[in-house]
Subunit: 242 residues, 2 copies
């Protein structure tokens, strides 16, 4: 793990790093003694580790005493894109324009990325828990939309993650792995999401094997999650990771 740049403001230290070609950012709260819970933050499709929404959520969590790590998903941010990914992306855009089922298109994209995304997260998780500033406290995962599509395979594979915020995605391509998710989940649905049909969202919520899972649905489109939901996420993680 190689640290590239470190800065500190508002009581939060932000460190850019790379681990085996995976670029990431680690946020840690200043001035707390002892090990704090850690949240892995997965970004949405087309976004990256330093997208404004990712940074805002990370800094909010860190202000509440969580350590937070975000990495670029495969073929996103500072990671290289290969020809096959570009073909899949072009196919997805053409399919969307042609009115094809967006759930099927998006599931195909996520399926292409999932194995590498899961391996990257597992390696980063091991590496950051080796840091004195993080330690081996409880771990949560927060990922919406593509962050959910890559997060569910991660949760199915990774026993160190004890709670997750997921959502803004349907069940296509994910039902089998969702059935292996047993940790508490808070699941976000946007009630008027034109990217994700409501019945597909509810089907993914249903598919999760977790005995404790709560669905939060709000009016509006894919990008219209109300700010108060981030407050609810902080409390959800506080309840399960502290």
């Amino acid at each position: 793990m190689r640290f590239i740049a470190t800065s500190s403001s508002d009581g939060v230290t932000e460190q850019h790093f790379t681990l085996d070609e995976i670029p990431g950012i680690l946020w840690t709260p200043d001035g707390l003694s002892g090990t704090q819970p850690l949240v892995l933050l997965g970004h949405g499709g087309g976004q990256h580790k330093a997208a404004p929404g990712v940074v805002a959520r990370a800094r909010r969590y860190a202000a509440e005493g969580f350590s937070v790590v975000a990495i670029d998903a495969p073929h996103h941010g500072d990671r290289p894109r290969d020809e096959e990914f570009n073909r899949i992306l072009a196919g997805l855009r053409a399919g969307m324009a042609a009115g094809d089922d967006p759930g099927r298109l998006v599931a195909g994209m996520h399926g292409h990325l999932a194995a590498r995304a899961v391996a990257a997260w597992r390696a980063v998780l091991t590496a950051v828990r080796d840091l004195d500033a993080v330690g081996t406290g409880p771990v949560g995962y927060c990922g919406l939309s593509m962050g959910c599509g890559l997060g569910i395979p991660l949760l199915a594979a990774e026993p160190r993650i004890r709670a997750a915020v997921l959502g803004l995605l349907g069940a296509q391509g994910l039902a089998a792995e969702a059935a292996r998710v047993t940790v508490p989940v808070q699941f976000l649905v946007q009630w008027d999401d034109r990217m994700v049909p409501r019945d597909q969202s509810l089907a993914l919520f249903d598919a999760l094997a977790s005995t404790e899972k709560t669905l939060h649905a709000n009016p509006g489109g894919h990008g219209d999650v109300p700010a108060f939901e981030v407050d609810d996420e902080v409390r959800f993680f506080a309840r399960h990771l502290r």
Copy 2:
């Protein structure tokens, strides 16, 4: 308004009262200066103002600095039952046993009670706001199941209520009045509720005209609302009434 008994414990004063034959309980937080927000607490079918769940929720809200009032719904608790109500109740029980649509049966019961329930709440609201211990601060309403079925007509009629927690009920008989509810709503659904079909719950959430409304769904039956939802209610009311 006539006060019958007063007690105080754990920083909360509890006063039993009657207002024009309506029996109620008022909980006020001790030792706070200035006017606090007020929450009206509507009980479920077959329950009453002092049912354990009502008292627990009221004391929790009061511990967070809210004044709370609960009253017996018509034909519940210490209020008289008439022959017509007994006929309706017997019909409901027989219909349930015969496998009739519970949504239709329950809607008929609530329809029989709604006009008197709304008039009682409006009179109690006026009376308690005249008390120095309560005052004319912001007002919320919390009612699930029958408390929702009587609460939606109340919200449609009563402009002094600015936020509401509702749920555990379907849309039958309520769609028109729900379309007149415009205040922020937190709406509870039990995902495996055998009393209330899921599609009827979602239809009632959809029917609310509120631009800010959040659905919280949890696994389990009608009575299995998780305890953390009461924490969420407190924060919802704090956000809208403070």
